[in-house]
Symmetry: C2
Subunit: 459 residues, 2 copies
């Protein structure tokens, strides 16, 4: 990766001019293809594996995860039902039990109880299947014509995939409550705000059915108060989902585990092993307490898939826990990560990134031209350049331009968000190769680009 | 693979006793893991890559596809937006244009027009996004409260993923018309039956919005009459989708291309490169004529994903063409397959399997104890053992037992379906390593097991 620009400086449509307009009739050589990869593909790649990558949230790769992918691609089974490869289903059950135990999830989430874990492609798919399961559980009770009465609750800091899931599942857009979570609660959902919204909806004859709380929001890694929210969900008989896509990984460390206290009240819990857990994309772990809710919403049983093991209910068929029918043997890579690292090394891996983030936070704090905007809880720092004078508009413009300037260097790659109207830079530590020197280098670049920018602004 | 049983004889729960109940604290060695793979995982694998695998439809693997997977896993980018790796989006656009040209799809399906192709994980996801796009296009016009009036049409031979998509998208179960397609039409949907159903629904105030035709149904590889059906869809302003998940691959051969004549009337077309096109799972190619229909149904635009390229509409962001947000760099493997084989070899690859299937069909035909049940069009033979005496019930029992007996040998693996009440064995040729000798061996096993079974039945 050394010497490559992290982010691509290519222009839209660049590749079409470099490749032929149709497939070859005759075979080409591997050398030709690999030359093309080097010359034409890599310059258009944004290097998520670069140690200088700090954008969005990380997408971890590791040798262990890579070997798991190789094994999976080599066997190339399609594990929709137990019978199509018993090992694929059973290893997934076992490995998600392992991970549930590392996270100290309540026993109800284990496959040995009435629940269990399943690997989804992404947190978007996890939230969609949860929403569908919850929706159908309610509609089963109150009749399918009540769809337009169902209401979903979450904060406005919740990932956009919940809104998309609502749209796909036919929830009326005006029944998706994006409750405001602002600076006063550190961007966490207030239980009082939730309680009021639910009361108001019930009084109008609407039916609350799903609450989604987040541990580690996308914008600022904020944490919703699970215990208080979970109790409200329980009192109102609402499905309670916890999205810990990014921060869930950290909760294998005892010092971070308190952040998911309250998970015992949840009906479902999700974390992405492909973000910050060294498991190559895609590998999103979803646990539910009641697997039958998923199955009742998502199962199909066509003749051509019938088999003795499924008919006698002795097995799990993961096709009924997900959107697609086909599925890859993804548990192999998670299994290899857990075994080849061991839980102690995985904990240290997380701690190292959190410490690097603390180090960066200290650097920002020490420089009066910058401010840290939201509390740093895991490995994400939200910060901005604060002009000596100027209103919010100017400040936002400045930080927007700073982002563009930083990423244009090709030496670092970060992303942004908006919090309380402020344009904010997000610095997410989490690439496997990132060391202290890379954080320091990034900070040097940020300072240098800021100076150039402030000079330009002041003239 | 040699010496291994194709299908696993393991019992439900076998693996839990062989693996520890929690992840290790300290790292284990790669040797330990690989020993476990050999000793405990492989015995529970159903070998889809075995040359003796004839079940369901194939799941092709190739060195080209495998290397594409390796490259993708190594880069491990998450290509939700163009900006997150321009090459990933652009190569996908280009390679799906290549494949569209090989299939001689109408120009409107190309990314250079208003349409374009996208790689979905599976045909289930393809049909779901198409259903949502069509649904939302209609609801946008007629109001979202009309959801319970929308009607979907398909034959009862259509893949179960359409029914699942209806369920997920909130289409009322009674508004999914599974029109009977029986032996008299070779299990294809009759245009007259469709026309009548549509008229009837319109007269009741319902709103037809989606027609799904299949080229190569799951049970018998039958082909719906696209031209006639497409005209009916056109006359009624219905979204017309073609599911060619399995048989689409064959249509790169001029002699099979006529089977998708009528695709010019379709709004969307789907084929699975991961089935019979040497591209490792997952790689389901979906083309649409109007990409805006997908985008209007599936786009989200949260602040943290905004970027200049997306805001100026100069690029495609594939996140808005699919269910999940994140996506792997899957075009690499399809690109490598197309280049390292070349279209001529890919055509020969298909032809070879079709010829092997013809050969098997001939063997079945020559044996009076068996009958071929539906016409063989591609590489699937539907056949059954016909007892000298006995009713349908006995015959079904016999063929069911024959299937179990065959798969219990561990030397071949096939699957079944039911056609017109008959229990049928499906013999699908399509594994990359299958040669004539494997087909002959399978036929020997089928005859031997049938003799044993008939002996047992007659005593």
């Amino acid at each position: 990766m050394h010497g490559l620009h992290i982010s691509s400086s290519t222009q839209p449509g660049y590749l079409r001019n470099l490749l032929p307009s149709s497939a070859p009739d005759d075979p080409e050589s591997l050398d030709q293809v690999l030359e093309d990869v080097q010359a034409n593909i890599l310059p258009g790649v944004t290097h998520w594996q670069s140690p200088n990558y700090f954008a969005y949230y990380p997408s971890n790769s590791s040798i262990a995860g890579f070997m798991g992918e190789m094994l999976s691609a080599g066997l190339n089974i399609v594990g929709f039902s137990w019978i199509t490869s018993p090992a694929a289903t059973e290893l997934e059950m076992i490995v998600l039990d392992w991970l549930a135990k590392l996270l100290k999830l309540p026993e109800e989430f284990l496959s040995t109880e009435q629940g269990g874990g399943v690997i989804q492609g992404t947190a978007s798919e996890a939230i969609l299947v949860v929403l569908l399961a919850a929706r159908d559980k309610f509609l089963h009770r109150i009749g399918k014509n009540a769809l337009n009465k169902l209401v979903v609750y979450a904060s406005d800091q919740t990932h956009s995939s919940l809104q998309k899931a609502c749209q796909m599942g036919g929830i009326h857009p005006e029944n998706y409550r994006m409750l405001i979570a602002g600076a006063s609660t550190n961007y966490a959902l207030s239980p009082d705000v939730l309680k009021e919204a639910i009361s108001h909806d019930i009084s109008k004859g609407l039916i609350p059915f799903l609450l989604c709380a987040t541990v580690g929001t996308t914008s600022s890694a904020s944490i919703d108060p699970l215990l208080s929210l979970g109790k409200i969900a329980e009192e109102n008989g609402i499905w309670f989902h916890i999205d810990a896509a990014y921060a869930g990984s950290a909760c294998i460390c005892p010092e971070f585990r308190p952040y998911i206290d309250g998970v015992e009240l949840a009906d479902s819990f999700n974390m992405n092993a492909h973000k910050w857990f060294l498991t190559n994309f895609d590998c999103s772990a979803l646990w539910v307490k009641d697997r039958n809710a998923l199955i009742q919403s998502l199962s199909t049983n066509p003749e051509y898939l019938k088999n003795k093991a499924s008919q006698t209910n002795k097995v799990i068929d993961y096709k009924d826990w997900q959107i697609p029918l086909g599925r890859r043997f993804r548990s192999l890579k998670l299994w290899m990560v857990l075994r080849l690292y061991g839980s102690k090394n995985l904990q240290d891996y997380i701690r190292n990134h959190v410490n690097l983030a603390k180090h960066f936070e200290g650097l920002v704090d020490q420089n009066p031209r910058f401010e840290v905007v939201a509390p740093r809880l895991f490995s994400l720092i939200c910060f901005r350049l604060v002009p000596a004078e100027g209103n919010l508009e100017l400040s936002n413009k400045l930080n927007h331009e700073l982002l563009d300037a930083l990423n244009s260097t090709g030496k670092t790659f970060i992303s942004h968000t908006v919090l309380s109207g402020m344009y904010i830079l997000r610095f997410a530590v989490g690439a496997p190769l990132t060391e202290k020197r890379h954080v320091d280098e990034a900070w040097e670049i940020i300072q240098a680009q800021s100076s150039l920018l402030l000079e330009r602004f002041s003239t």
